[in-house]
């Protein structure tokens, strides 16, 4: 079967994903509607999607700068993955939750998380300053893939409580080799939990390419084994990641259970600022993906639609500058942890000895001043 002829609707019998990723914007930025993935977006939404992607990129490059200036210990860039992250998160409703990995600054922005607050995690001032409850954006999970299970449990509990709430769990292609995401997907399917498993297939797990991670035809195929649909989206097409997420989220909200989304994209930067990707990938491969830049493609679309003018660009630029300034102010030379914090947050009710130890430490610190 030629890829072009593949149906985009998952076959209810096999749940098999189409081989060709859902794409709404072609490489020239022209919009082609795809059956089963209708777009319910207004002009203001198109503008918002663009805004978030540009802001995400700007925040990301500012974070890299801060790391190079010695202000952050390490940072994991999302460059190239803006469309994947923003499209997915934008399809969520206010009350929905995200369980992210360490690379989700773009999704964080869409959820209204202040990027500066997240950077504390990478600076080591305090674990993370963002409020997971207020933003419905969970802890940035560092142990690979574990957040898929947290998302599943959260979704099952929400269902138990009769809450109208969908949970989106982001993880990477590499994470699909761990046991946790498998157990999470199986669990979620068995219990019809309202979860969307959103895999950003950025082709690499540190130095290990996808081909060494899985023999499956695609990551989306893995869904079939759990009895849930697997969708593939062109991860550099924000309308595709949005439309596919919209569908998976609606399904989950309607009580039809979880889905797996594979957004096919590319990590344009190093794994983290501590990594040297020239050891394991070629400049030509990078160049191939550079021309598929998600923001450039969407810009072409917006220009065609007459939605992108200089005033709007200037407005976003201004906003991005504001973000960058606030981020710098937030973390630049931010004090490194009050010694009293050492005993903070270890238990809900600190053991008596903690209080004593803390009081002694405070007395000592005051004495030294």
């Amino acid at each position: 079967m030629s890829p072009a002829a593949a149906p985009l609707e998952p076959d209810p019998m096999t749940l098999l994903p189409p081989e060709r990723p859902v794409q709404l914007l072609d490489d020239e930025g022209a919009l082609h509607e795809v059956d089963g993935f209708p777009l319910d977006l207004k002009d203001s939404d198109f503008r918002d999607l663009y805004r978030y992607m540009v802001l995400a990129r700007r925040v990301d490059s500012e974070a890299i700068n801060l790391q190079r200036q010695g202000q952050l210990g390490v940072y994991a860039s999302l460059l190239g993955q803006e469309a994947a992250q923003v499209g997915g998160a934008y399809a969520l409703a206010e009350q929905d939750w995200v369980f992210p990995s360490y690379r989700e600054m773009g999704a964080a922005l869409v959820r209204g998380v202040d990027p500066g607050s997240v950077l504390h995690l990478f600076r080591g001032t305090w674990l993370s300053n963002h409020d997971p409850i207020a933003t419905r954006f969970g802890l940035l999970s560092i142990p690979i893939g574990t957040q898929a299970l947290h998302a599943t449990g959260y979704a099952m509990a929400a269902k138990f409580d009769g809450k109208d709430l969908v949970v989106m769990s982001y993880f990477g292609d590499g994470a699909t080799s761990e046991g946790d995401p498998h157990e999470a997907m199986n669990f979620a399917a068995v219990y019809d939990a309202p979860v969307v498993f959103f895999v950003q297939n950025n082709q690499y797990a540190i130095s290990v390419p996808l081909s060494k991670q899985t023999k499956a035809p695609t990551i989306a195929h893995k869904a079939v084994g759990y009895g849930m649909p697997g969708f593939r989206a062109d991860g550099n097409d924000v309308l595709a990641t949005y439309a596919v997420s919209r569908r998976a989220i609606d399904r989950a909200r309607a009580g039809q259970g979880p889905s797996l989304i594979e957004a096919v994209t590319y990590r344009m930067e190093a794994h983290t600022t501590a990594d040297d990707p020239t050891r394991y990938r070629t400049a030509s491969e990078l160049a191939e993906w550079k021309v598929r830049d998600p923001i450039a493609r969407f810009e072409t679309f917006l220009e065609r639609e007459g939605l992108l003018d200089d005033a709007f660009r200037a407005e976003i630029d201004e906003e991005a500058r504001g973000y960058a300034t606030r981020m710098r102010a937030e973390v630049y030379d931010a004090p490194h942890g009050d010694p009293l914090e050492l005993f903070e947050h270890v238990y809900v009710e600190p053991p008596e000895r903690f209080d004593e130890q803390r009081a002694l430490l405070r007395a000592e610190l005051e004495r030294r001043e």
Binding site: G124, T125, P143, G337, L360
Partner: protein, 338 residues
């Protein structure tokens, strides 16, 4: 002899074992093409080829379990857990399976599997990447557990681990990967498992360290008003009781230096054994110098405070020797140590 960084000593040990024995294979996350996240397998892929040096999917259960299976056939897999914390997702394979196969099979199956992992704090890696966690493995009969304290021991212990027919875990303190020292390589440099090393001798106190606290203890003793036997335990499972007991019999005092939380730390075992078996020799309370019972803090200043440093260790021992009483840890005094 050559001056090697600890990470180079590890590469050398792996290469020497792979050269010596064609059944030694190396696998784990990012160990082949990238040469290891801490560059501890640099050049092995080029030298020994893709069949023996493999990048695996991110799947700790996968490569520990498959490593166990492969080891049963007689291969000697050396697998790498990038950070000891990630052993958490695969602990069953090690504690409940690899360490039990020989026993369950009545001695018919051997599991010559080596698990290397980076461990410990001091690099600002935060609460989830800074633990030592030897205590996860400690109460596991069937397993051996060694901890490197620098380039020389990293080389010697790893080679012994590969040659051992039991499953062996070798922990590598992360802050020491860049540390350099003269390292003798070759068969004579293999350090037998189960033997401690007396790295300094003195009269007043026996200090037992493991991993990076060995260096801490040596530095503490350098400019002290007392002299000490400093013992690098090298292997924790099984640990060298004879060396420790003999030293305590001479000095009459035991201080164990640990970088992990106080409650349940590895030193409890040493302290209990010495308190019981060397009771008549002791002239001072058995002392443990540890970190407090909190997660490893991320901010550098707090992490530095968390880890027992040489000045603090020296001050604690000063107190022990001056007062004959158990020194109170910094987080319970107004003195805050040094």
């Amino acid at each position: 002899m050559a001056k090697l960084r600890m990470r180079q000593a590890i590469v050398a040990a792996l290469a020497d074992e792979m050269e010596r024995d064609g059944s030694v294979i190396v696998f784990g996350e990012d160990v082949a093409a990238a040469g290891g996240p801490f560059k501890t397998s640099e050049g092995l892929l080029e030298r020994f080829g893709r069949a023996r040096v493999r990048d695996t999917p991110i799947s700790e259960t996968g490569f520990l379990g498959a490593g166990l299976g492969a080891a049963v056939t007689g291969l000697r897999p050396v697998v790498e857990i990038m950070f000891i914390e990630f052993l958490g997702v695969a602990l069953d394979m090690l504690s409940t399976e690899a360490a039990k196969f020989r026993y369950l099979s009545g001695g018919k199956l051997s599991v010559p599997l080596v698990v290397r992992a980076s461990a410990g704090s001091g690099l600002g890696f935060g609460a989830q990447h800074s633990q030592t966690l030897e205590t996860w493995l400690y109460a596991t009969p069937g397993l051996k557990l060694a901890v490197a304290s620098g380039p020389r021991t990293a080389y010697g212990l790893l080679r012994a681990a590969v040659q051992d027919d039991n499953p062996v875990v070798v922990l590598e303190p992360r802050p020491l990967y860049g540390e350099r020292e003269e390292v003798e390589t070759g068969d004579a440099a293999v350090i037998p498992l189960g033997q401690a090393n007396l790295c300094a001798t003195g009269d007043d106190v026996t200090i037992v360290g493991l991993g990076q606290t060995v260096g801490t203890a040596l530095r503490a003793a350098e400019s002290a008003g007392w002299t000490a036997d400093v013992i690098d335990l090298q292997t924790l499972l099984p640990w060298d009781r004879d060396t420790v007991f003999a030293s305590v019999a001479r000095t009459g005092r035991l201080v164990v230096v640990e970088e992990s939380p106080r409650t349940g730390g590895w030193g409890t075992e040493i302290a209990a054994a010495v308190a019981g078996e060397c009771f008549g020799d002791l002239t001072a309370p058995v002392t443990r110098i540890t970190a407090p019972d909190v997660p490893v803090p991320f901010p550098p200043e707090l992490e530095a405070r968390y880890l027992p440093g040489p000045d603090y260790v020296r001050a604690q021992i000063d107190t022990l020797l001056d007062s004959g009483r158990l020194p109170v840890p910094w987080w319970e005094t107004e003195g805050l140590g040094a």
